[in-house]
């Protein structure tokens, strides 16, 4: 049994609970125990770093400090936004001792910067990929458009995940379960991110271009690893359709759901019924 620290983040307990459900289901299948960071809080997301620098560091620092307090050396952070905020905080505070001291003082606990932060892809690469082939019962024989968004790959200097133009990690992983990734142009274009509620029109436009390109290239499903991207591409489909002046019904799956389906995990356990755009696989 492998034990890893787990930071679900707010979305995964609410609007994106199917992401959490599929991550957990997948980990169970591979004998990985996810241990939630006790009493974790919100990372502050875009709102905090738009409005206050120290707040935007303090909220993630509290999470990391709690992980340290609980003896965790490695945590998995499925939400790309949280992964990004946590990684940037770790990097910033490790580079500036004075600032780290100041933030420690704000959150009223020590923070050493010892926790390794993994996104869900990195976690899968590290613990799952090698055993994947043996466990496939239903190859996911579909054309997929792997969508990385911004937060998994940028800023590259800090995250050091995949390459910044035309990343391939998710594509490669899905090939292992029988999917055929399409070569498309919008892998790392922004979907509108935090504007889901405040600027739905912009989300419709940005996400619309992304969805359209995926469909144009013959993709049958879009695959994501970020709840914000998922919300914009799935939940905001009406805005997308109204921008594109057509109806597009390509489903949007989390990478963990695709892998789960290939392993034969039930649709309910993977939370597929929670999507706005129905998943018919």
């Amino acid at each position: 049994m492998i034990k890893i620290g787990f930071y679900p983040g707010c979305s995964l307990t609410g609007s994106s609970r199917e992401y959490a459900e599929s991550v957990i289901a997948l980990c169970e299948a591979f004998n990985i125990e996810l241990k939630q960071i006790p009493d974790w809080n919100c990372c502050g997301a875009t709102a905090a770093h738009n409005l206050d620098k120290e707040l935007s560091l303090a909220l993630p620092a509290r999470i990391l400090a709690l992980a340290e307090q609980n003896g965790m050396t490695e945590i998995v952070v499925p939400c790309a936004a949280c992964y990004n905020r946590l990684s940037v905080t770790e990097h910033t505070l490790n580079a500036d001792e004075q600032l780290r001291a100041r933030i420690s003082e704000i959150i009223e606990m020590p923070y050493e910067g010892t926790v390794k932060i993994l996104n869900v892809i990195q976690m899968l690469q590290k613990y799952v990929v090698n055993e994947l082939a043996n466990k496939i019962v239903a190859p996911f024989d579909h054309k997929v458009a792997c969508y990385y968004g911004c937060l998994l790959v940028r800023p590259h200097e800090i995250l050091q995940f995949d390459r910044v133009e035309d990343p391939q990690t998710i594509d490669e992983m899905l090939k292992l379960v029988g999917a055929q990734p399409v070569d498309w142009a919008f892998k790392t274009e922004c979907c509108g991110a935090g504007f889901s509620v405040s600027q739905p029109d912009i989300v419709g436009k940005l996400s619309g271009k992304i969805v359209k390109d995926a469909v144009d290239r013959g993709a049958e499903a879009m695959v994501v690893a970020c709840p914000m991207c998922h919300a914009n591409l799935d939940m905001r489909r009406p805005a997308i359709n109204s921008y594109l002046k057509t109806t597009i019904d390509i489903p949007v799956l989390y990478v963990t759901q695709v892998l789960g389906l290939a392993l034969g995990i039930s649709r309910e356990k993977l939370g597929l019924q929670r999507h706005f755009v129905p998943v018919k696989f």
């Binding site: 709102a47 409005l51 120290e54 003082e105 704000i106 911004c150 922004c190 019924q273 929670r274 999507h275």
Partner: protein, 188 residues
């Protein structure tokens, strides 16, 4: 002896440099940022123009920047810096300008929805330690009076089990409150 050789730096660009270490003068206006920015067409000032205006070091341009919609439209997607030949951290500049704009009460009306959303978001985090999505939407609606927005989405979310009626709470809420008190609230 040669103090007179050094220009004293003043103005917004100097503040940007001091706070973020981003030197606006490095920009040579190639426009690659504006070319790649997903929201450039919605902006009143595309990112390369923001850098140029900082370079001019003129108070009226500083003022325009702080009152622009651009700074609130920036999604922090980091496309600009990932392709900038001079590695200029424009997102960091945008962060700085947003904070300065708010501190000086210069947020443009055209961005009030965006700021209202951020405020509602942080209010939720401050009160509960986590994001309470239903509460966020309610608070946002009250702030913006966009009462009818998403009336169709919310019920479906509830039906799909995506919205909770009772917020999840951090146990050590005092700790969270302290964090807010020492950071964002200390300044406002």
């Amino acid at each position: 002896m040669n103090n007179h050789l050094h220009h004293e730096e003043r103005g917004l660009a100097a503040d940007v440099k001091q706070t973020t270490s981003v030197a606006a003068e490095k920009c040579y206006q190639c426009g690659k940022c504006s070319a790649g920015c997903p929201v450039a067409s919605e902006m009143d000032l595309p990112p390369s123009l923001v850098m140029r205006m900082l370079q001019t070091n003129r108070p009226e341009n500083d003022e325009k920047l702080l009152r622009s919609k651009t700074i609130w439209l920036c999604l922090s997607c980091e496309m600009c810096i990932s392709r900038c030949p001079m590695s200029i951290d424009i997102p960091k500049v945008m962060d700085f300008l947003r904070r300065r704009s708010r501190d000086e009460g210069k947020v443009t009306d055209r961005a009030k929805d965006i700021v209202a959303f951020h405020d509602s978001f942080l209010l939720s985090v401050e009160k509960t330690g986590k994001l309470y999505e239903l509460g966020l939407i309610a608070a946002y609606k009250m702030k913006t009076l966009h009462l009818m927005q998403d009336v169709t989405v919310a019920p479906e979310m509830i039906q799909k089990g995506k919205l909770h009626f009772i917020p999840e709470m951090v146990k050590n809420r005092k700790n969270i409150a302290q964090i807010f008190k020492k950071t964002i609230k200390a300044k406002n």
